[in-house]
């Protein structure tokens, strides 16, 4: 992904972390320029129309489909997978009552994984963006290493983790030998393994936005901090970190959101009792139980819960520069 390196701040979430194209509010441009845009705005509509039509058809409408499906009812004596349109709000109570634990667990796992990814990803981004500034080729290679794992397929990599951490694998053997793990202790099929898997798989989503942000950081500001008697740690806490907050915001969101809906890690690295995540439930209600209304209701709850969390989070730490 050398292009990421070459084009400042064009990472996947560069925009999310970066300067807003249009910071809302007052328009700094002269009336003349606004007028020019008004005149050509018909062209603007033609530009966005196809894309938005697509999004409307395959994102907005499906969400309404999901909402509608979540209220379907199963008529008495119907075959498996047969439902009729209805307004059965009880579906929500049913699935929430049955799966609130999985829902909370998903958020807990995602939260821990996000914090872990932040602790790992920030130094990674800082290393590439600030410490290696000016060494273009090395920067480029490291950035590629962050993205290229996508091409190996994350299921293959997660499967690899499963085998590396397997009971008969090398890691467990070493840990048992040095007594960090009891004789019958294991790494796979535990919550720990699931969280590690989540951290691992979503690490690039954390690192890239932070990188895109730090890459534009003016290192003279760090020098100014040091010059004003701040220790390196104080400088980091009072100068670097606040300036990179937009990147951190984007990174944490891009990690937390997919992590809370993920089920591959839980399926491959977890067990069937205390690591089940909400994604697994939705998947199995759709495909195994063929309970479309229940699965849809759960999906909808998950979406609303995440939206609510995101809005709270952005309000709290927020920055208008998110998009």
């Amino acid at each position: 992904m050398s292009l990421l390196a070459r084009n400042r701040g064009n990472g996947p979430a560069a925009d999310a972390s970066g300067k807003a194209a249009r910071p809302g509010g007052k328009d700094p441009r002269s009336a003349g320029e606004i007028g020019a845009e008004r005149r050509r705005s018909r062209m603007g509509y033609w530009l966005i129309l196809p894309g938005f039509a697509f999004m409307l058809l395959f994102f907005v409408l499906p969400v309404f489909s999901l909402l509608a499906t979540s209220l379907y009812a199963k008529p008495p004596g119907a075959d498996v997978g047969q439902f009729v349109p209805a307004l059965q709000f009880g579906n929500y109570a049913d699935v929430l009552g049955a799966y609130w634990q999985e829902l909370l667990r998903s958020f807990a796992f995602a939260l821990v994984a996000t914090v872990a990814a932040l602790l790992i990803g920030y130094p990674m981004a800082y290393l590439v963006a600030v410490r290696l500034r000016g060494r273009k080729l090395l920067q480029g290679i490291l950035l590629v290493l962050i993205i290229a794992p996508f091409f190996t397929s994350f299921i293959l990599r997660t499967q690899a983790w499963k085998q590396i951490l397997a009971d008969e694998g090398p890691v467990v053997a070493v840990l048992r030998a040095v007594a960090l793990l009891p004789e019958d202790g294991r790494l796979t099929a535990t919550a720990f393994a699931v969280v590690c898997g989540l951290t691992y798989n979503f690490l690039p989503f954390m690192t890239l936005p932070i990188y895109a942000n730090l890459e534009r950081l003016d290192t003279r500001l760090i020098e100014a901090g040091t010059d004003l008697y701040a220790s390196p740690f104080q400088t980091f806490r009072t100068v670097t970190l606040p300036l990179s907050m937009p990147g951190v915001m984007a990174g944490t969101l891009l990690t937390f959101i997919p992590a809370s809906g993920d089920y591959i890690n839980a399926a491959l690295l977890g067990n069937n009792q205390d690591t089940t995540m909400i994604g697994q439930v939705i998947d199995s209600r759709f495909f195994r139980v063929v309970d479309y209304p229940g699965a849809s209701a759960l999906s909808f709850v998950l979406m609303l819960a995440i939206l609510a969390l995101v809005i709270l989070y952005v309000r709290r730490f927020g920055t208008k520069e998110l998009l």
Partner: protein
């Protein structure tokens, strides 16, 4: 040498679409939603002239320029070049080129490709060779292969100029082209621009908020305010005889003293300003009766000690020095005149004794230097805009 050749080619090409042609704006109005940017503007800019549109930001000068360039459509009215109506012609079809404010050089092309861009779009043969000679004209031939990003501000400015004039447009538009340069480079470029204009003989229309720049370079200046031309004329004419308070304050500084016409002397009127009798020549006065503003430029005021002031009690104001600032070649005074207000005086350094704050002084002037404005005008119009325009 090269410059002469280019100038020659330019004149010979005049027949087709360039070489300078009259630019006429006929009652052009531009309205944005609820805001009139340009209000019924009538302008004739003769071929070969260096014309400056001067005004504060938001006065409509840039909108006017953009309409000439074709980047903006007038709401009503017509534009024509050399008699040809271009109102509905697209920007890319007009014999007009622009030197943009921040140059707008294409960063992904070499300097030479930038300069040759317009020629190539029009499929003119020998585009590269012509672009090269245009670069020679601005003395940048040796940097043809560079990217714009590798040039200094002054060099970029010259590339932008070369990129525009190489097309030999009928009208060349300059949109605050020197705004991004530092003061020293700016003065130097002003001289160069003027020289190039004289050499190639194109019609230049220059938009600026810098009155000094407009006066140095243009042979005709139009002062714009709120979408209208307040006054138009040669720089000297505008400065010596402003017709509105806005022009008097925006173009240099003026002392404007309110009063009432009390006497008609045939070729002049006498104005009573709080008991002071001030004479204004009728040909220099916008109003001949009723309330007027009497204007005198600070450097036209003579400051004297009370004991030295004798003779004609007309055109004489008694006051007290409120503030002085010595700049070397001159001293700027602020003098409080009771009932009239605070006047500015610019006094050349002839080695005379300098007044100090609190000193009683007398101000007088030559009647030929005073001008009269309509008394209904706001005497401070344009002053704030001038201060803003002067700020870097």
């Amino acid at each position: 040498m090269v410059q002469e050749r280019l100038a020659e080619e330019t004149t010979t090409a005049a027949g087709r679409d360039s070489g300078g042609a009259d630019l006429v704006l006929d009652s052009v109005t531009k309205r944005f939603a609820d805001f009139v940017a340009v209000d019924d503007l009538n302008l004739t800019i003769p071929a070969g002239s260096f014309f400056a549109l001067l005004g504060p930001s938001g006065c409509g000068k840039t909108t006017t320029l953009r309409m000439v360039a074709g980047l903006e459509q007038p709401t009503s009215g017509t534009l024509s070049i050399g008699g040809r109506d271009i109102t509905r012609t697209g920007a890319h079809e007009r014999p007009v080129n622009t030197v943009f404010q921040n140059y707008a050089l294409f960063p992904h092309m070499s300097v030479l490709d930038n300069v040759a861009f317009g020629l190539k779009r029009r499929k003119i043969r020998g585009a590269e060779a012509r672009a090269k000679s245009a670069l020679e004209l601005v003395e940048l031939g040796h940097l043809a292969a560079r990217r714009p990003g590798q040039l200094s501000g002054g060099q970029q400015q010259r590339v932008a100029l070369a990129r525009a004039i190489v097309n030999r447009p009928a009208v060349l538009l300059l949109d605050e082209p020197l705004g991004a340069l530092d003061m020293k480079l700016r003065r130097q470029m002003q001289v160069e621009l003027k020289n190039i204009q004289l050499e190639v003989g194109l019609t230049f229309v220059h938009v600026t908020h810098d009155q000094e720049e407009a006066m140095t370079m243009a042979d005709t200046v139009a002062v714009m305010n709120a979408g209208r031309v307040e006054q138009m004329g040669a720089p000297r004419e505008l400065y010596e005889l402003p017709r509105t308070a806005f022009v008097a304050n925006f173009l240099g500084k003026s002392n404007l003293v309110p009063g009432e016409v009390i006497e008609d002397r045939g070729d002049a009127v006498v104005v009573n300003a709080r008991g002071n009798r001030l004479t204004v020549l009728k040909e220099r006065a916008a109003a001949h009766h009723g309330r007027v503003l009497v204007g005198i430029r600070p450097e036209k005021l003579k400051m004297m000690w009370p004991q030295d002031a004798a003779g004609d009690p007309d055109n004489m104001l008694h006051g007290r020095v409120a503030d002085t600032s010595f700049t070397g070649v001159s001293t700027d005074y602020l003098v409080d005149v009771p009932g009239v207000g605070r006047l500015g005086v610019f006094s050349q350094n002839h080695g005379q004794q300098l007044a100090r704050p609190g000193d009683e002084v007398v101000l007088c002037w030559d009647t030929a230097h005073a001008f009269g404005l309509d008394g209904r005008e706001d005497s401070s119009a344009g002053a704030a805009e001038a201060a803003e325009a002067a700020a870097p």
